[in-house]
Every structure is written in C-alpha cells, then in structure tokens.
Amino acid sequence: MELKRVVVTGLGALTPLGNTVSEYWTGLTNGVSGAAPITRFDASKFKTQFACEVKGYVPENYFDRKEARKMDLFSQFALVVADEAVQDANLVEGNYDPDRVGVIWGSGIGGLRTFQEECVNFANGDGTPRFNPFFIPKMIADISAGHISIKYGFRGPNFVTVSACASATNAIIDSFNYIRLGMADVVVTGGSEAAVTEAGIGGFNALKALSERNDSPESASRPFDKDRDGFVLGEGAGALILEEYEHAKARGAKIYAEVIGGGMSADAYHITAPHPEGLGALNVMKNVLRDANIRPEEVDYINVHGTSTPLGDVSEVKAIQTVFGDHAYNLNISSTKSMTGHLLGAAGAIEAIASIMAVRNNIVPPTINHFTDDESFDSRLNFTFNKAQEREVKVALSNTFGFGGHNTSVLFRQFID
C-alpha cells in the first residue's frame, strides 16, 4: 500500500523559556536560559537546588478550580499546549471527522507529585487507607491523552507512550505511522512532564544525573562543554498536530513542515548509561534516514539529545560522526537543552518544535553556555555555540534517548507540495 504524507499543521508549547510557541521560539533564538532556583518546594537540603521550571503558570488562568484540582500538573500542561495547537491548526468542528482524530501523547513519569503526596499522606496517618479517589486517575501517565480526547471529543486512537526521555518522540513516531498507514486523519501528539518535586530531584540526584552547579543555575546546562556536570531538570509540554497531507490541503491548513521519517532502536546495554560507542544512537539515526529514504548529506541540522552529562554527549557525537562521516562538519548541531533543561518525557515534543521552527525560519537555535572546549569533541564540528545561526534548514533531525536504552529520531523537512 502507498504510504500517505504527513504534515505538521499546529504547534503548542509551555516551556521554561515561555508559555506559547512564539515566546518559546524567541527564547530559543535569543539564547536564554530557563534555569533558576526551585520554587515548587523547599530544596535547601537537596544537592541540586535549581531547575528549569515553567514560569508564571497559574492554573486558574486555564481551568476552573474544581477541574484543576483533579489533574496533576503534567495533565494540565498537556491540555494547555493541546489547546494552543488545536487552535493554531484551526481544527474546528465540521472540518474533521472526530472518529478519525487521535491523541497519542508522551510522558516519562506521569503524576509524580500526586503519587508523592498521596503516599506521604498515607505514611503520616495511622495506617487507615484514605487515598483520594482521584489519586489513580490523576497519576497515571495515559490520563493526559484521555483528558485531551474528552475536552475535544477526539475519538480516534488514544494512548500514551512511556519510554523515559524518548516518550514524546515515540508518540510523534507512532502518530506519524498511524496517519501514513491511513488509520487516522489527524493526531494530537507531543508530551508533558512535571517532575520538579522532592521525589524527582532527589531521585535524579541519587543517580548522580543532575548538575549541582547551585551557584550558577543559568550556566549549569552546558552540553559539550568541558566542565558539564549533568543535566538540569525541566518541566513543561509541547504539542504538535500531525495531519494527513490531503486532509490538511482540503481544509486549507497552514503547513509548518513535513514529517518524513521515524527511527527507533535500543542500546540493550545498561539501564541508565548510554552505550559507550553510541551503538543505539548510531542505529537509530541510520534507521530514521532509511525510513525517510534520504541520504545523510540531505540533513542540515541535528537537534541532539545532548543532555550535558559527561558520557551521553560523547557517545551521541561519536554516533553522529559515524553516521554522517565528513558531512558531520557541514551540519549544524545544537542542544536546546542548554536553555530549556531536560523535560524528560516532554523533551522530544519541545525539541521537535525547535526543529520544525528551525526548518520554517531557517534559524538554528544555539547550544548556550559554552565556555571551555572539550578535546573529546572534534573541533571541526559546528555545535552552534552560544548564538543562533542563520542557514537554510531543509531537513532537521531530532534525537531523544531514554533511560532503559530507548533511542528515537524523527526527521522534519521543509514542505514542498
């Protein structure tokens, strides 16, 4: 059967750099850091006392109080960005068949704060179980997709992918596949995460995964810098409306870019450490190029996973050099996590948006916080350090990798009819 073409027709973002796509893109291109001292809880006893939180978010601006109380923050974030994307795509009753609109969302963890609060309440009690009836439906990761479908009446395929920090990219790839196979006309996809909690920071601290640069939060996320010391936890969400091309054309939708390939692989190596030679990363980039049926030379920009951890950054770059050979020197490479921090299961969503906006605007957002070269990296590579660069971006590749050794890549191309 002939595969259908899939295009991006709407975007939504709630990020540490801004609470709409436009604010987010402005932050990205200006090289702004979203890191600051943690406000969501008292972090004074924690090794890491900063994070990339969403700023100025007031639930009551988006939900009535009763509605907000029944949703963990990660679900609220999901609804906020889905709404921006649905409006941006001009999906209005009558211009789609609700049975053919799916929601495939990504979240690495789900309602971590809800889980933490309910367990703390129980532990502080006398052993009588007084769990809130909304505990489970607030916490479970898939409820985000459920909420979006309930709000809009989208009755097509509906589920959430869980693959740690690759979750949203898996969701995007699944959406792409369902549409190109003809199983849906439109899918609301993306991801959301809200893990800046005691359990989130404490848990990642115990793994020695987080930067502990408390004296300078805004310079802590420094992918590819010699003195990088771990990632900075972020929170937020991103939404994309993926749509079958003929469907989009028929209703006169604006088209941001075309999705041309999805790749997946596993490291099969270690629960948290990346494969030292970047084997999984190498395979996933080969897979995505093969899926899109393009040559490595056609790629202009790679939005890397690049979390700012000592090991991860090295293995990803090794993989890029193996896959792209000499063309690696022509690429723009950047880690927008230097600005947004690491949104875990939502990272793939906001980085897909960064990649799409790069394609649309021919601007590559930078890898900020570069102070000292690390000799582990080939100095001929262009990491887009510190300042955005203008260049034609016909094709952008976005990588995300998750604990468990899950690797995902997705390719976006400038839309040509």
Partner: protein
Amino acid sequence: MSEIAEKVKAIIIDKLGVEESEVTPEASFTNDLGADSLDTVELIMEFEKEFNVSIPDDQAENIATVGQAVSYLEEHAK
C-alpha cells in the same frame, strides 16, 4: 446553623467549586452541585477526615444531599 453544618458547607464549596448560595439542605451532590461518582466518594472521605468518623459504604450511599450529610454527621460525629 450548627458548627457541623458550617463545616460541611465549607468542604462542599471547596471540593465541588460551587457558590455558597447553592449549598442548600435540599441540594443533591450529583443533580444540583455537579458532582460525579468520584466527587461524591471524595466528599465522603473528607467528611470522615474532618469529623473523625468512619462512614460504611452502605450508609454512604444514603448520603446524597447536603442535609443528609449534616444529619448523618450530627448523629455520628465524635
């Protein structure tokens, strides 16, 4: 209004996000105050916590209005 009735009212306003004027003795949680089955379970749990009582499921089923909640609690609250 009794102290219990005041507290019951406050809990209902907080949990169901309704206006004080709507919380009349005859008001039904589901028909008048917009509660679904989970909201009702949550309300009962809040009453149990606030008034330090344990409301068995078969009796909880009979508490459908504000007045019924107040009566039950006035009788059973410790």
